[in-house]
Amino acid sequence: MSIVPPAASPDIALPDAFRRWFAARGWAPRAHQLALLETARAARATLLIAPTGAGKTLAGFLPTLTELAAARPRTASTGHDGAASGGLHTLYISPLKALAVDIARNLERPIAEMALPIRVETRTGDTPPSRRQRQRRYPPDILLTTPEQLALLLASDDAPYLFASLKRIVLDELHALVTSKRGDLLSLGLARLWRLAPQAVATGLSATVAEPDDLRRFLVPQRAGEVRLADLVMAAAGAAPIVEMLDTKERLPWAGHSARHALNEIYDLIKANRTTLVFVNTRSQAEMLFQELWRINDDALAIALHHGSLDVAQRRKVEDAMAAGRLNAVVCTSSLDLGIDWGDIDLVVNVGAPKGASRMMQRIGRANHRLDEPSRAVMVPANRFEVLECRAAIDAIAANAQDTPPLRTGALDVLAQHVLGCACGAPFLSDELFDEVRSAAPYASLARSDFDDVVEFVATGGYALKTYERFARIRRGKDGRWRVANPKVRQSYRLNVGTIVEEQMLKVRLVRARHGAQGGATGPIARGGRLLGQIEEYFIEALSAGDTFVFGGEVVRYEALANDEVYVSRAHDSDARVPSYMGGKFPLSTYLAERVRLLLADEAAWRGLPDQVRAWLSLQKKLSRIPRPRELMVEPFPRAAKHYLVTYPFEGRLAHQTLGMLLTRRLERMRARPLGFVANEYALAVWALGDMSLMIRQGRLDLDALFDPDMLGDDLEAWLAESALMKRTFRSCAIISGLIPRRFPGEDKSRRQMLFSTDLVYDVLRKHQADHVLLRAARADAATGLLDLRRLGDMLSRIHGRITHRALDKISPLAVPVMLEIGREAVYGEASDALLAEAAEELVKEAMALD
């Protein structure tokens, strides 16, 4: 059985008390809610795919509630320790602790109203130790928690006792959980649960995804040689959303992501609706838009700001105000992609690129949690390319096409953390644990050698030079079982569990500006100003004194970094010079990119585009060429004593950055003397001193060779040796795997200045043991993470032999947007020495000027 026909008779499925409860509220149980009761009765794992507002959570809990109600006399108090407990019955896991808390509140209602003898508790990072203790000894019937807390529970001695009675596992927002390393950790936790409680059955709750089978595999133990799937229940789709693109009266910008041109129109939308969610892609965009909206807020509308860098208390306040209906609008980032239901949101405005069709649908789903009414959304493209992307996204939504990423291959660093956790609980046998791990879908094809390397890594570091036997963290006893070497290891595991590696944050303080110190960083600054908040260290590291940026809703000037604090002053210019926090987190999805390419090539479809955009594309057609869907178009042209090469892969900024790095290396070898490059989501521009157009004409620069996929060989190797992005990737693997503790036992705060730099460890390890398991883990991350290597590889194969080039004598219309990014975005491709040499040269110039 795969798809349950949603026609089960309510009389059979739903006990009387529940039917009366539904009726009293004027509700009828929905077909998918009844279907879940059926699969639960047959003890079958089930994936429920349902749109927002379909009563998904209640569907997930109904089997638990009815089962517990039937098993207990109704006269028992609904109270606490008094209720006769049969042990933990249902474990609910959510990606957000706020969501767990909210669900607990929502569950209390049916439980209280039907006087069910069921005890519900939450367990999050905020749960006090006394309650945690009690939960282990006297488990509630239903425990609501997060993947990290589950890992901690599993790593304790009482895990077998605690979970022995477990019947049901409910995984909420599964589509969001499985896309990250948290999903890997959760899958390993599930595998452990299946061993401790073979009778436990998992239910996954998910938004619509591209490949439901991936999630169905996640929910059942896998066996070698066969794919096992959970049942699938699809709820009826809600009303189709009404999605429009803002047809701006203003001039559409060529580049940039601020959408300032549409500010008044966005404001009017907010004014015309009761409650609007305004989504943007980055925190800096959120900051900027929030500030600008308030500048024109003549009607004193209640507009709030919500993003991940804001203080938690501040965010909670905004969420509460929103839930209470006191706000007209919230400007937010993906920090609100998931989360508690807010009821009445009339409109979602998405400013900037949609990036992915599924992502956009989930955002739109945040509006109007009533199933039978259509959600309304307006997309506001910030530039001309984003118009194409918005059009493609609207078409994709109309076709109900999904582009969620495929299921991950389980990461080895997460496995290392899990192995250590297992050793912290009951001692394990390698063979048994290997089988158990392979029952988790992301690890179903894990090689035994990789598993053994991970165990060796956890024990002694996994080094070819075996010098750490005496410092082993886990040891194998005479019985062949691995156990922790000492209690300190256990303590350290508890402090470092989890897969979210926080960026290093620095405190930002507001001080008075230094006078007369233009650009230079001389003279003392006043210390100890007002604390504004915290900011990522990597962002600050790339700033020079005098750079301005937006923080906490205002423009500030970077003064200095001293003793681990960032000093800023109020800036009086209204333009922040450094606009982005490393751009958006998500690249343009492959699917949407494909649609944009098709849209470009299909002239008939241009009719659906605004006049300005149509005119722009027509001009491109006249002056150069419109790229065909499967080809890579390259436009070389001269400009201001330099030679440019602009190309349009449409593969997202991350893949383009990697491509840019590799191309400049090759161009250097081909003696084109490249100077730098800049990338956006759609295009890449490289510039050089050499006349690349002439070189192509004379056959000295072969474009097929330049874009040959073999660049992912030696060139990539050489670049990875020094890539800062690769080093960041490695750092996160080192932390997740437990090589490097986030926190040392006995230390309250995570220490900012680690006692050694992971970059140095990376350099040494790479030179001395290039195939070390941690480097393998980092490389696997690089394939999909910050370097997006897999996508680059796919693109290079796709365009191989399909490169067209148009030699131009000036910049083409299509090239303008990426060229405008120069000076706005970080410029890559310069060797470190070039930057240092330039700084040294400034000194020479200064000296000469004095003469």
């Binding site: 002694t460 570091g461 080094y463 030079l465 010098t467 750490y468 410092f471 963290r473 300190k488 290891v489 230079g520 960083a521 001389t522 590291e541 790339a542 700033l543 020079s544 200095a560 970094l561 001293a562 003793n563 450094v578 100077l675 730098g676 510039w687 020094e722 090589l739 503790p741 200045q753 680690m754 006692l755 050694f756 730099s757 140095l760 350099d763 040494v764 390890l765 030179k767 001395h768 070390h772 120069i822 000076g823 975005e825 970080a826 410029v827 890559y828 310069e830 060797a831 470190s832 020495d833 070039a834 930057l835 240092l836 040499a837 330039e838 700084a839 040294a840 040269e841 400034e842 000194l843």
Partner: protein, 232 residues
Amino acid sequence: MTSAMPIAHRETRTLTIAGVDLAADLSGALVWREERLLVVSDLHLEKGSSFAMRGVLLPPYDSAATLARLAAAIARHDPRTVIALGDSFHDGEAHQRLPVAAREALAALRRGRDWIWIAGNHDPALPRDLGGTVAGSIAVGPLTFRHEPTGARGEIAGHLHPKARVAARGRAVERRCFATDGDRAVMPAFGAYAGGLSIRHSAFARIFQGVAFMAHVLGDRGIHAIAAARCC
């Protein structure tokens, strides 16, 4: 935008300190050619195993990596005397944990040379059986070599692990450096796992009486002289 400036590929760069011309080597060593003297600071040998003892199993290759770089610098300059300017070993027992291969490599480097171990805060009580001479500090002509800088004229010190960060156009480069104002110098740490302290930290302002000093920054292919005030 990006300049077309040719990059000076210099393996060494002359620093004049208290009237003495010294060659700063790209590896982080300092060479006094007339005296055939080579100085390296803060090797922090066996830092990896020092952490391993506390449960942080860093790759055990740091001593080998550090000594290989030292061997290359020694081969380049063929000094008669080598000064290890303190914190040569990461902790008091580190020399006992030195792997056999590293021990032999060190012995080979010492052969035929005077070797002076200056004591540092990590290795205040160096054993006599290391080979070479153990000292608290040593004066040669107008220069004094000691581990912790005091700010005295003619002092070559280590201890602080100076690093410089230069930022331009949304990109930053951070590297080890020599810090000097012409009267005194602080050497970069040589050890593979030795981290760094920004030259804009107040510890440097104390030694150089402010920010009027230069960072000689170790790039990939050359050493770059950059005013400390330009660094962030």
